[in-house]
Symmetry: C2
Subunit: 347 residues, 2 copies
C-alpha cells in the first residue's frame, strides 16, 4: 500500500503538496502537479479512504436504509435491481459509494411492532461512519420512522415516501397521474362502473393512486362510488379476494383498476375463477409494469414506472444536496400507460 508520504518523498515535495494535487489542483504549480501526478500513477497510489474520512469528517459513502418490514413478509420491491444499479452508477461517477446499513436485529425482536430495526441505531450508524448522505427505501407502511433521519440534518432522499426537511427530499412516481390516466383509458373504452383495489392504508403511493383513481373518474365525468373502492395490500391474494367481493355484488363493475400488478393478477385469477372472460366481461388495469405483467394471459395493461429513473433521480437529488446544501424540490417521475390485452382496447 503506497502512501502519500512515499509519493512526496519520491517527488521531493511535502505530503501537503501531494494532498493538494488531489484535492485542490489549482493551488499547485503546473510543473509540480504533473510530476506528482506521474509518480502517483507510476506507484499506483490511491489515498486511504479511512484516513481521508477521518480528517475530513466526511466519508465518500452514502448510506442505504432498507429493511424488510416484518409486518409485510414476502414483500418484494418491484424493481430493486434497476434502482440499485441506477443509484450506484450515478453516485460512482461523483466518487461516492453505497453502504448498505444494517443494524443487529435485536431491536426488532424487542419491539415487534416496529418494522425498521431501531431507527436510532441507524442514525448512530450514520454518525459513526460519517456518511455523506442517506437514501431511504420505503419498505412498507410505516415510513414515519424516516422523519427521524430527516431531522438528523444529514442529506436524505426518500423513495416513495414524502419526506421534507432542510436537507431532505424525495422521489416518487406520478402515482396519481398514472392512476388517473388508467381510469380515463377505461372510461374512454366505454366503462361506467370502474372499481379500484387499493394498496394498504397509510402507504403514500397507495393513497396517491386512489386519489388519481377519483380524479380520473371525475375527469371522465363519472361519479365516484365508495362501494367500488376496495382496500387491498398490494399482494396478489388481496387482489383475488377484493375482486371476488366486487363480483359478488348485484351490479358488479365492468372494469377494475388495481393499484399494483400483483393485485391485478389476483383480480385476473378471481375473474377466471368466476367464469368471466378478461377483457370481454371485465377489463383489468394494474400498476408498476413488473415482469409478470407481460406474461400473464391476457397480458396486463398497466401503468409503468420509470424504474431506472428512480435510481438516477435519487442520486441526482442527493448529489445536489451534497454540493449546494439546500434541498431540491421533490421529484415526480412520469408514468406511462402500457396498453396490452387485459383492458380490451384492442378487441
Amino acid at each position: 500500500m503506497v502512501t502519500a508520504r512515499e509519493v512526496a518523498q519520491l517527488c521531493g515535495v511535502s505530503v501537503a503538496t501531494v494532498s493538494r494535487v488531489f484535492n485542490r489542483p489549482a493551488t499547485v504549480s503546473a510543473t509540480t502537479r504533473e510530476r506528482v501526478e506521474r509518480v502517483a500513477r507510476d506507484l499506483d497510489f490511491s489515498p486511504n479512504e479511512s484516513a481521508r474520512a477521518l480528517s475530513r469528517q466526511q466519508s465518500a459513502m452514502v448510506g442505504l436504509v432498507w429493511d424488510t418490514d416484518h409486518r409485510r413478509p414476502g414483500w418484494r420491491h418491484p424493481f430493486l435491481q434497476d434502482l440499485l444499479l441506477g443509484l450506484k452508477s450515478a453516485l460512482s461517477s461523483h466518487g461516492y459509494h453505497l453502504l448498505m446499513l444494517a443494524t443487529s436485529d435485536d431491536a426488532r425482536d424487542r419491539h415487534p411492532g416496529v418494522s425498521l430495526a431501531d431507527p436510532l441505531a441507524y442514525v448512530s450508524m450514520t454518525r459513526r461512519h460519517h456518511l455523506a448522505g442517506l437514501v431511504l427505501i420505503d419498505s412498507g407502511t410505516d415510513a414515519e420512522a424516516f422523519t427521524a433521519f430527516a431531522q438528523s440534518g444529514l442529506p436524505c432522499v426518500a423513495l416513495d415516501v414524502a419526506l421534507s426537511g432542510p436537507r431532505a427530499t424525495y422521489v416518487t412516481s406520478d402515482n396519481a397521474g398514472g392512476a388517473a390516466s388508467a381510469v380515463r383509458h377505461l372510461a374512454s373504452l366505454g366503462h361506467r362502473r370502474i372499481a379500484t383495489i387499493t394498496g394498504p392504508r397509510g402507504n403514500a403511493p397507495a393513497t396517491a393512486r386512489t386519489e388519481g383513481y377519483r380524479r380520473g373518474l371525475a375527469e371522465a365525468g363519472l361519479e365516484a362510488r365508495e362501494d367500488l373502492v376496495i382496500t387491498g395490500d398490494f399482494y396478489r391474494e388481496s387482489g383475488f379476494v377484493g375482486m371476488r367481493r366486487l363480483l359478488a355484488r348485484k351490479d358488479p363493475p365492468t372494469a377494475v383498476f388495481a393499484a399494483s400488478d400483483e393485485m391485478a393478477v389476483g383480480a385476473l385469477l378471481a375473474a377466471r375463477a368466476a367464469g368471466l372472460q378478461v377483457p370481454a366481461d371485465l377489463a383489468v388495469v394494474g400498476f408498476d409494469d413488473i415482469e409478470v405483467a407481460s406474461l400473464v394471459d391476457p397480458a396486463l395493461t398497466t401503468v409503468a414506472q420509470d424504474k431506472p429513473g428512480f435510481g438516477t433521480a435519487a442520486a441526482g437529488a442527493l448529489l445536489a444536496m451534497l454540493e449546494n446544501a439546500d434541498a431540491p424540490e421533490p421529484v415526480l417521475l412520469p408514468t406511462k400507460l402500457v396498453v396490452r390485452e387485459s383492458c380490451g382496447s384492442r378487441s
Copy 2:
C-alpha cells in the same frame, strides 16, 4: 459526536482504557469496565469507524462486487433481494456492513469487451477502503475476472462461480443434481426423448445444469443425444427460438428441460405458437423457481434454488475466513424439484 476522550475524562481514566473496554474487555478490571460502559451508554458514545479502520488497518465493511454485464443487457438476477437481505442480516450480526462497490464507468467505455468495469480498479478500491472481505456476484459469462480478486489475498466469496484460492471460496446451487432430478422426473413419467435448452457457454451454472441433464438421462437408462441439446442464453427469447427448432425436427422431443425459468416460459410460448398443448403434447421443466413460474399457464414445474440460503451461506463462509484465515470448502446448496402443471405428472 462524543469521542472516547470525553468518555475517558468523565470516568477519570485514559482513552486507552476506554478503548480496551470495547476491544478487549477481559484486560480491564470489572469495576472500571462497568463504570466506562455506563458512561459510554449515557453519553451515547459509539466509536468513529473511520478512526478505528485507520488504526486497525481493517474496516468493518465487506465489499459487494456486482456489475451489470453490458454484453447481457436486461439480465436480472433471479433473486437479488433475498440474496442481499440474507447477506446483510448475517453480516450485521457480526458487526459488518456491505459496501456496494462501484468504479467509474470509464473502463467499460474504453474496453467495450470487458463486462466488469476494470477489475483492477475494484482491487484498488478494496485496498483504499481496507475492506475486510469481498462478495462477488456473477453478472454474466466472464467470471474469469474474479480470479484477480482471489489473488489479491482478500477473503472472497463468489456466488455461482467456482473460485479458489487460499482465502477464496464460493457458494452455488447443486445445479447438476437439480437438473438430474428434473430429468429423472421426466423420465419417470415415461418420456424417452428429453431435450434441453442450456444457458450460455462458459457460464458455470449453465455448464453444471447441462452436465446434470446428461447424468439424469444416464441414471434413467436413456441415451444422450447431442442433437437434443440446444444452446440458449438464459433469456426467454432463446427458449422460444430453441423450442421452435426442436419442434421443427421430424421426431420432436416429448419433454424439455430448460436451464432457466425464463427460457422455460419461452418454450411454453413456442409450444403454444406451434399449436401444442402443454403438458399433454410436451412436458416442460425449468430452473430457478422465479416468481413468474407459478403464474404462467400451465404453472411451471421447476427446480427451486434456496434463495435466502445463498445470502446466509455466503456470509457464513466469509465470516469463517475473517476469523480463521483459511478458506472453507465450497458450499453446494441443495435444490428442490417443485412439481406444478407443466410436466404433466398430475394429469
